[in-house]
Symmetry: C3
């Protein structure tokens, strides 16, 4: 193994699971180019092709990583079509991903973001497959970035990229109409209602056919099986079930409305 | 990325799965504080909130790690309640975990263990969520330990922590009454019967409605589908099915009794 | 932690999943022997005991790793029986695995491969279990190799090892009879038909009760739910469903025949 290279940090976020070696192939490509780079897995059990969930997980995870980190996202159902491939620099970090919306929340936070369309083939693998650009394009580009190669060398600067702010809920006086935007492994339901909307206190929350009348301080404060609302770790209102799954109890999906009435103080 | 820090070793054991980025966030927090630390995953598919299984996996895994390793356990259904958070030093290794029993088997082995209640907020993240202390407290505390920060600086030394030895089976002459204490991915049933109890040989083992009349030397020694008993890799008697799952074949759960009659030599 | 050692690269491919700490134990063993080694996971959700899938994933992943990499494979249903344990050197890389066929495709590519039967117990852990040679034999042997220990020191050179080329399909003029040899997480069906067999164009492909009449350029080119054929990332013909699972749609398993008629040019 050639031990040149720089000790950068590359993260991987994919829908590849842990059975086929696809993540391993990407890591092999990266370590062949830069044997000193550090590799960290963000998540690999994103549902196949679920771009929205990948965009959410990425936006919520990136702030905890150090400056200079290179984040690679491969949730890429459009691979092989004419969707573009991107390298971006935003808020001190690098991103390598398909142009399908996975970066929309990252790029919306930063008007100064630099986005490049990957068209410099010398940074790709020699043989590009039709179905696995994660291995053949994104991994080697990220590895070259980690060695200190300039992002501007990777392709053409573009301006027409997707930007989308996370949608805020409708608010009419003391009434808020939000929705579920993410469901995690525990069946916790993350809403699009920022926790600071609730500072004055709530009268009640409606979701599906259930009503919640107060905010809990912890899951464990309620008895097992109780439906509860809490200031979640993503900074938003979350609906959960103590020692259980709110997603299963309420049988809800992403997009389910959440109606909230604030205390009229 | 700031390249100060020390090359410590931190392991992570959680019930976070691989879909939401929660493990990734913890790693980002750790690498921001100590970019040189090594990170190793013990397991992340512990069933949500299954403290007993986490305690078992931890106790069986830790002996294989080098001295000085920092083990972080986040199976934490009581997060946000008044359960305490711990840093401990025991048998040459460090532990960072909630005070909910996940460390009971580790601490029971070592009367000289030092246990601290984490109350020094300067080693936490700035904003502490109600629901994710793994990211906001355990990860940064572990990272600071890995940089060489003293454990005594992290909080207040305490003595009233949970200690529990792994329960031994009842033994009356040639009769042993044990139970299943862990079930692994393969459906192998780990009992609480130490393998050295069996040295004189066995007459028969009863589990559920089945009888096993000898110890096997390997899974492969028996024909596919055969229920068998073996000296397992955890050092205990295990019940297994050759090329199959004993948990599925017998439909048993943790706590299932295992009755064993020894040879009367 | 003792910081001697060399900065080698060890990969792990197992059927251990992510719940029991078995992969963690192997990593602990390795890092105790060589604290500087780099560890990369290839895949751990191989179906329990599925040697064929492990052999496929290994053969397809290894070419992307740098020279000198040490690949450890533990899909080992015969553990504890008299199946041998191997260390091998082939095409610049090292392999440590049971003698059960997982290396057959690797070794068939290289007549100059050196294969050793692991019988030098000083490189094993002190206590060898009957059921977990991954931890007790393969991990420590790989770690010693990573420190620069010679492979010839690990055991006895042998010649009578399994070699098997990936089976090519039958070809009669314009008719090809192949089969499905691997099914991935996405439900994509990998055939044993090399993509370069198709260069002249196809008339139709039969699989199960379905007919596909052209090769697609990408998944996204077809409308969601469409059954399609594509030049896959493994270099073979793949059958897929746009935004879906071909395995589920066709209800096929490994071994399913695929009949292909080429254009008669």
């Amino acid at each position: 193994m050639n031990l040149t290279g720089k000790m950068g940090l590359i993260t991987l976020l994919t829908d590849f699971g842990n059975q086929d070696g696809y993540v391993g192939m990407m890591k092999g490509v990266i370590l062949t180019i830069n044997p000193l780079v550090r590799l960290v897995d963000i998540a690999h059990d994103i549902s196949p092709g679920d771009i929205e969930s990948a965009a959410f997980v990425l936006a919520r995870t990136v702030p905890y990583f150090p400056e200079g980190t290179i984040h690679v996202v491969v949730v890429d159902p459009g691979v092989g079509s004419d969707r573009r491939a991107f390298a971006a620099f935003s808020n001190g970090c690098f991103f390598v991903a398909p142009d399908n919306g996975v970066l929309k929340w990252i790029l919306s936070r930063d008007r100064a973001a630099q986005v490049y369309s990957l068209d410099c083939e010398k940074y790709f693998l020699k043989n590009i497959s039709l179905t696995f650009h994660g291995r053949d394009i994104f991994a080697p580009v990220a590895a070259h970035l980690s060695t200190g190669r300039q992002i501007a060398a990777m392709g053409t600067r573009i301006q027409d990229y997707n930007v989308e702010k996370m949608g805020l809920p409708e608010k009419n006086n003391d009434l808020i109409k939000g929705e579920i935007i993410y469901i995690d492994r525990f069946g916790n339901l993350v809403t699009n209602i920022p926790a600071d909307f609730l500072e004055g206190g709530i009268l009640h929350i409606n979701i599906r056919h259930s009503i919640i009348t107060h905010l809990s301080r912890s899951y464990a404060q309620e008895s097992a099986g109780t439906l509860l609302a809490i200031h979640g770790s993503h900074g938003n209102l979350e609906i959960a079930v103590a020692n259980g799954s709110a997603a299963r109890k309420l049988e809800v999906k992403i997009g389910e409305p959440v109606i909230l009435r604030l205390k009229n103080e």
